[in-house]
Amino acid sequence: MIANYGYRDGSGEYYVTIDTALCVECVGRWCVEACPERLFEIEMDDYDDEVVAIAPTARKLLKERCAGCKPTGGHVGLPCISACRPGAISHSW
């Protein structure tokens, strides 16, 4: 499943996308430790696969929580994307 979390505002679209099919086989769960905001959580999805998801409490707060990883936050390369070896994570900004 491709899960998109994020928002759109006047300045553009800001989505973090996870291809959870890749998480099923992932042994490292590198994203969990890598995200400075600890936004990734391991969960059993609705079809009984163990995958990661953005924590439910953070889903509607990505504007604030991911701010440090935006171009304006001075980041080059996102910690979550760099850490995920299977290449499951992408972003829209």
């Binding site: 499943m1 491709i2 899960a3 998109n4 979390y5 994020g6 928002y7 759109r8 505002d9 679209e13 989505y15 999805d45 609705d46 079809y47 889903r59 509607k60 707060l61 990505l62 504007k63």
Partner: protein
């Protein structure tokens, strides 16, 4: 009722039962309960067939709302909680359905419910709920492949519509029709955020806009927001809309214009309601989970 005390956001509650179907003859009774932020629904399936559903407003307490809506669906059938083999809770309050055997996200439930209502041709589902809005892409079995959730704002949601209804003194159920009773389509309001929309609506009335014109501008703004989400995920037909706003033509028709495609209507000979998609999907999961449990137990 005086104008001051009338509640314009109140929509009609709904209760439906399959004529001539007796649950006592069934081998599997499964229920799905969708506790949303604005409304709650319960669906009961007997041997995989739609038997009853009920829809009500969510109260301040999720477990109570879950109980109330399930009791509503069972009312007059002689069925009690003990007669239900398996229950799945979904929606924003899904973890607070005390008697559920499992909680499943509304994303998976809406896809499964839409697949049951329309059939395997449904590939894109727009769920316009009380407090958020999601676009879901699924396969021919109703399994989720891709989804997107909107941001934190209540824009494009049932709650947002209720605020506008209240501000303008128009019943929620009349918004769609009235939003088309205008001379020409106005530009969408600039702010769909419920907090600002209220003051913007009041300001527009003050400068001489008719109520219908304000409604049109607000519906258009909501449609624009939602169409942006659909664009992001990509639209593959058939396209179906679930949730309370599916019944608001003022928003639906404007979304259809923006995405350039009509949403599939519910077949006329069915008794489905787009608002029960989540609870129906949950009941289908409950039915399947119970059968799986039985198979596993039999194999032991």
């Amino acid at each position: 009722m005086t104008k001051e005390t009338q509640e314009f956001w109140r929509w009609s509650e709904k209760n439906w039962r399959a004529p001539g179907l007796d649950w006592r003859d069934a081998s599997v009774v499964a229920a799905g309960i969708d506790v949303g932020s604005v409304s709650s629904q319960a669906v009961i399936l007997v041997d995989g067939e739609l038997f009853a559903y009920h829809s009500t407003r969510t109260g301040s307490n999720s477990p109570d709302s879950a109980k109330r809506t399930l009791a509503g669906a069972m009312e007059g059938t002689g069925m009690t909680l003990d007669d239900v083999n398996h229950i799945v809770g979904t929606g924003y309050g899904r973890v607070n359905v005390p008697f559920a055997n499992r909680a499943i996200t509304e994303i998976a439930c809406h896809a499964r419910g839409a697949n049951f209502m329309i059939g395997p041709t449904v590939r894109t589902i727009l769920d316009m709920g009380g407090q958020d809005c999601k676009v879901i892409r699924c396969d021919e079995k109703g399994k989720v492949q891709n989804f997107i959730m909107n941001d934190k704002c209540a824009a494009g949601t049932g709650r947002g519509m209720e605020v506008i209804a209240d501000t303008l003194g128009v019943s929620v159920e009349d918004i769609g029709r009235r939003s088309f009773e205008i001379d020409e389509e106005p530009a969408p309001v600039s702010n769909v955020c419920t907090v600002f929309a209220k003051s913007e609506a009041t300001a527009l009335l003050k400068v001489g806009w008719s109520i219908n014109r304000v409604l049109a501008a607000y519906c258009a703004a909501m449609a624009e927001r939602v169409a942006g989400l659909i664009d992001r995920l990509g639209m593959e037909p058939d396209f179906f809309i679930t949730g309370g706003i599916a019944k608001n033509a003022g928003v639906v028709v404007r979304i259809e214009r923006l995405v350039g495609r009509r949403a599939v209507p519910l077949p006329e000979d069915t008794n489905f309601d787009p608002q029960i998609a989540g609870a129906l999907g949950a009941a289908l999961f409950a039915d399947a989970l119970y059968r799986k449990e039985q198979r596993v137990a039999a194999a032991r």
